[in-house]
């Protein structure tokens, strides 16, 4: 789960990490009130998760209760998109914070390093830029330190990282203290990423977090209901919510752009099914993993979820039963079809593994034939999507 900038900054502030003073607003009137009570040079920032908001016009400036009206009106309700997320996201909240006189911009993050199985600290004196670009063009400019979680944070780590990132010596101690607080937050919040870019050095030599990017581990949220409650509306998707309500995990339904609906069991098999559909010349409409051991009710709801996407023209169900039983899958599918959510002429099913005979018998009693292999099913589902007239 990713947090909006202002949510991240509120966590930073709680952890004692300096941030520019600011307040969120959801209406123009709230924005005016904020500027009336504190008429200082300020920045109005769109609160969206999608990147590139600056370029899209989602960051503007103001100084008082009058000149905040224009930017607030312009940004609230603005749709911000980029190449990776062409549909974009609507800014429902703006964050109004005091402008900071920046002398230099640094980069600082803590993420999870899979190879070493440790948190990894990354810092650079080349902040403010796209860090992936820095990593590509100036890999030496990024200092990395993989911290032993059994040791935890110790201030030498900050000094070492500061030296290796060639940060100005005057701020080493400040930096080390700030990094310690950030590490504490990373751990306590169960984050998988905390990133400050830029981490500003002000003209009077103070470090301040100008931005905040925080991504939390969904699996750890049960320990932090306060953080789970921050889930932003911009990240929710009604079909995904239905999948979660049906007892599936956070990552089990992913909406895609194509027209071939997909249901399978197990993330790996579903990924393989998407690939097979693509290889057969089609475009998957979604990823849906019913998980291991899905019963008829989960299967029925899965069919309903996938087919309520209006783009879906054909449905491909690919089940390799290990702990998932073929008869349960067949039962759920037949129930979904009988309630009129979908018709069997727009359906391809491949059912193999545990209780495949019972499952296939149930299907054929209801006039549904199953295909033998994943590739055969993918080809048939793609052909159906192409010939189907809505």
């Amino acid at each position: 789960m990713r947090l909006l900038e202002y949510q991240g900054k509120m966590l930073f502030a709680q952890a004692g990490i300096p941030t520019p003073p600011g307040k969120p607003a959801a209406t123009v009137a709230e924005a005016v009130a904020i500027m009336r009570s504190n008429p200082v040079p300020s920045v109005v920032k769109a609160q969206v998760l999608v990147g590139g908001r600056g370029k899209a016009g989602g960051i503007k400036f103001c100084t008082n209760a009058d000149d905040v009206v224009e930017p607030a009106k312009a940004i609230l309700g603005m749709r911000i998109a980029n190449a990776q997320n062409p549909e974009g996201e609507i800014a429902k909240t703006i964050w109004i914070e005091q402008r900071v006189d920046i002398a230099k911009e640094l980069y600082l993050s803590i993420a999870i390093d899979r190879a070493s199985k440790r948190p990894i600290i990354m810092a650079s004196a080349m902040g403010g830029m796209d860090v992936e670009e820095v990593a590509e063009k100036h890999p030496e400019a990024i200092a990395k330190y993989r911290i032993d979680p059994a040791m935890g944070y110790s201030s030498f780590v900050g000094r070492r990282v500061a030296r290796e990132a060639a940060l100005p010596k005057e701020i080493w101690n400040q930096f080390s203290a700030l990094l310690g607080k950030l590490y504490g937050l990373f751990f306590d919040a169960g984050a998988i990423l905390v990133e400050i870019n830029p981490l500003a050095i002000t003209k009077d030599g103070k470090l301040i977090a100008s931005d905040a990017k925080v991504e939390l581990d969904d699996s750890g949220l049960f320990r932090r209901p306060d953080l789970a409650a921050l889930k932003s509306a911009s990240e929710t998707d009604p079909l995904k919510e239905r999948a979660i309500a049906a007892g599936l995990g956070e990552n089990n339904y992913v909406q895609l752009d194509g027209d071939v609906g997909i249901i399978g069991n197990g993330a790996g098999l579903v990924m393989g099914t998407l690939d097979a559909v693509k290889q057969a010349g089609g475009e998957p409409a979604n990823f849906l993993d019913v998980g291991g051991g899905a019963k008829a009710d989960v299967m029925r709801e899965a069919v309903n979820i996938v087919t309520s996407n209006p783009k879906v023209k054909s449905l491909f169900i690919n089940i390799f039963g290990g702990i998932t039983r073929g008869d349960e899958v067949a039962k759920g599918l037949i129930e979904a079809l009988s309630t009129g959510g979908w018709t069997k002429d727009k359906l391809v099913i491949r059912l193999t593994g545990t209780n495949e005979k019972e499952g296939r018998a149930l299907l054929s009693a209801n006039g549904i034939t199953s295909v033998e292999t994943m590739n055969e099913g993918a080809r048939a589902a793609v052909a159906l999507a192409k010939t189907h007239i809505m």
């Binding site: 899979r114 190879a115 948190p119 750890g220 992913v254 197990g266 790996g268 990924m271 393989g272 097979a276």
Partner: protein, 289 residues
């Protein structure tokens, strides 16, 4: 012969009185695994469906000589279960549980020493066909033979193994290493074990998007630390950037974890990459020849 698990392995289930734990303990026993009992704190001394239940792993190990534990404990307690098994000296700890907080896993991995091999979490387990099954895999799909398999996914493994078995290619050991970002054993660990196993002639590597385990495996092959024939498959080649595909670890973020990088890494070291699971048997036969 096989790696990690064989007919002499003494296996317990942590979480044996839970629905999943008991169900799979029975399936493992039916497959022929040498099941010696299970653990549920507070329920020691009971017997469930002929499985002796112990209060803790140390006691179970003391009384049964168990050296393999399969964990079905719910996510909030699963890291503790892994640490308990390692603390008791269990040699192979297989964690099936999905959805363990990643910080819990990081902490556990940081302190579990070299005497314990962890497989998973969020994995289907380990099977040495014809000898033992420690996990949730459907045993009937597998057949004894001389090809090893390592996979980040469960069901993709069944799909691929089904093709292998139907084409007369049996398996020495199949290790489902798991779909989480932080896992106990990665491809290079398993490749090292297969390299040393005289009963394994070739290995199938089933990777997916996200992370750099596949690139690390290719580098190991490049440095001649793994010298047997290998064939690879990469799942999620059609997945868009930035979207997590079911597995917590299956995500392309920025320029890392892309299928292009993984396919290129294997091709550079002459490891053929199958476009589809159905192509794998032919590639294996060619690689062995």
């Amino acid at each position: 012969m096989s790696i990690y698990l064989n007919k002499d392995s003494k296996v317990i289930v942590q979480g044996i009185t839970g629905r999943e734990g008991l169900y799979h303990a029975n399936r493992m026993r039916a497959y022929g695994t040498n099941m010696v009992g299970g653990v549920t704190p507070g329920k020691g001394g009971q017997t469930v469906e002929d499985f002796a239940v112990f209060d803790g792993v140390a006691e179970a190990r003391e009384k049964t000589g168990a050296n393999v534990s399969v964990i079905f404990v719910p996510p909030p307690f699963a890291a503790d279960a892994m640490l308990e098994a390692a603390d008791a000296g269990v040699e192979l700890v297989i964690c099936i549980t999905e959805g363990i907080p990643v910080h819990d896993v990081i902490k556990a991995m940081a302190v579990i020493g070299a005497g314990t091999r962890v497989v998973g979490p969020n994995c289907p387990g380990v099977i040495s066909p014809g000898e033992a099954l420690a996990g949730i895999m459907p045993g009937h799909v597998f057949a004894p033979g001389r090809v090893g398999l390592i996979s980040r996914s469960g069901t993709a493994t069944y799909e691929i193994v089904d093709h292998l078995t139907r084409n007369g290619i049996g398996q020495s050991t199949c290790v489902g290493i798991g779909g989480d970002p932080i896992i106990g054993s990665v491809f290079v660990d398993c490749l090292g074990a297969f390299e040393a196993d005289p009963a394994t002639d070739a290995v199938v590597i089933v990777g997916e998007i996200g992370g750099s385990d596949e690139e690390d495996a290719a580098e190991m092959i490049e440095k001649s630390k793994f010298t047997k024939p290998a064939v690879a498959f990469i799942g999620g080649r059609s997945a868009p950037k930035g979207k997590r595909m079911g597995h917590a670890g299956a995500i392309i973020s920025g320029n890392s974890g892309t299928p292009e990088s993984k396919v290129a890494a294997f091709q550079r070291v002459n490891v053929p990459v199958a476009d589809s699971p159905s192509d794998i048997p032919a590639l294996v036969k060619r690689a062995i020849r």
